[in-house]
Amino acid sequence: MSVIEVSELRKSYGGRAVVDGVSFSVEEGEIFGVLGPNGAGKTTTVECVEGLRVPDAGRVRVTGLDPVADHEQVARVLGAQLQQSELQAKLTVREALELYASFYPHPADWRPLAERLGLTDRLTTRFGKLSGGQKQRLFIALALIGNPRVVVLDELTTGLDPRARRDTWQLIEDVRAGGVTVLLVTHFMEEAQRLCDRIAVIDKGRIAALDTPQGLIRRSAGATVISFTPSAPLDEHDLNALPEVASVAYKDGRVTLSGTDATVNAVITLLARHHITAHQLRVSDATLDDAFLDLTEAAA
């Protein structure tokens, strides 16, 4: 059974469909990413999973339960870090951790959690006096404090410095290693590529693609990028005629092509036929970044 099931989810605001038929399911112990441009409907989607918003249509299940109708049962097993929220300004970090721990039947010990999130020297600081990054780390701790089976993290590392970001990624990987299912909203490609087993790319309320990070890169048109400086001029017409080529740029004597493995082989054959040497030949995989731009543009 999937831990999270979303099918044909729809939600409109003011007559505008913000989430327009989104379906996906997340398996136990999986890190599932939701990637998409601003305003794509990511937060709306995951807040329906958390039971904070009521879908207009469609079905959402968390461990088989309806997050709206069975809210309390879902809340016991689901930890959430919201994109935007606050705590009472004069509540200290320690008090917040203890209070939220008291809400759950089998809470985690907050001390090691605070330590891993670098909050140990901030325990007596009031929420209102924390920096943005410290608040973010406290909310990550609160998402994990109930020993959840499922965590939903909306913009996990926004506002964190690169060091804290990497520490947080490691923490999420450790949490998953303990069997926890993670639903992660992000717009950092590096984060998605490193953490996620599968990614749903959402654009304008619809799923534009759903695959592993590698699968997304492979399926995008320009999955492989070849660049070189030919020893003699090449006919641009020949380049454009190469099999499966997605794009050609010929600038200042340097050729940059994107395509597939077939394109790479064809380029080598072409060069050999013309007895041209390729200087500074580079072949690289496109990044998730490229794939993302490709996918969200294609859907536009």
């Binding site: 958390e50 904070l52 049962q73 930890g79 919201l82 009472q88 939220y100 809400f103 759950y104 109930g146």
Partner: protein
């Protein structure tokens, strides 16, 4: 399964947080009694007055200061806090836990009610010790009038919070309602000294009714059913309005 609307840990937290609000502590707990001390220090306030049925002005001001803490807290303290909890997403964050966000509202209301009662006792005590104002001759009746007075203050504050989208609006609405409520409680003219018709009209407002009920109990009578009924009707109407209009986000 339904978790209760009151949560012990949330309540303890709100009590602790109230202790960190010097402004609220001053206005709800201390200011009413301070005002009584200032008024009581004026010699003419300590002269028996025939037009007040032989009472001194300071005697009539004790029930007023007893109500003042509730009015100030109910209109200036509580609505801003509750609206802020909603505005800043604190209720929303709590909605993702097994404890319902209403537990945060009820906890803050309980803290406010407790503070208002302490404030009332303090005013009674200081009135007795400093100015020899007799303690209520009908203590049970006094309590019976005090409890609905606190409830109506809670209901009024909840309506203000429900109708105000932002903390700023809650502050403005609270202030606008504050002065009429203090007037009706008799802060400018004690109800005993008001012209008959005015006293009758004021008797239909929440704190006018509360003041008259407290006066009766202070003098040894059971508070009139009309006053208690007025308080009950206001409490029910305002609570229904708050429940209907309150938005969680």
């Amino acid at each position: 399964m339904n978790t209760p609307v009151v949560d012990g840990a949330v309540l303890r937290t709100e009590i602790r947080l109230f202790g960190r609000e010097p402004g609220a502590i001053f206005w709800i707990l201390l200011f009413p009694t301070l005002l009584l001390v200032i008024l009581g220090s004026i010699p003419s306030f300590r002269q028996p007055d025939d037009s007040l049925g032989g009472l001194r002005l300071v005697d009539t001001y004790v029930p007023i200061t007893v109500l003042l803490g509730m009015i100030l807290g109910g209109l200036q303290g509580m609505p801003q806090v509750l609206t802020g909890y909603r505005e800043r997403g604190i209720l929303r964050r709590m909605s993702t836990t097994p404890v319902r966000p209403i537990a945060l509202l009820t906890a803050h209301m309980a803290v406010f009610a407790g503070a208002a009662l302490v404030s009332a006792l303090l005013a009674l005590l200081v009135g007795r010790l400093a100015f020899h104002v007799r303690l209520p001759k009908q203590p049970l009746g006094y309590a019976v009038a005090l409890v609905p007075a606190v409830l109506v203050a809670l209901a009024l504050g909840s309506v203000v919070s429900a109708l105000s989208r932002t903390t700023k609006i809650a502050g403005a609405v609270g202030s606008a309602v504050l002065f009429p409520m203090m007037f009706c409680a008799g802060l400018w003219v004690p109800v005993q000294a008001m012209p008959d018709l005015m006293a009758r009209i004021v008797g239909y407002t929440p704190f006018g009714a509360a003041a008259q009920a407290l006066n009766q109990a202070a003098g040894g009578d059971w508070p009139g059913w009309t006053h208690l009924a007025v308080l009950a009707v206001w409490t029910v109407l305002l609570t229904a309005g708050a429940a209907r209009w309150f938005r969680w986000e």
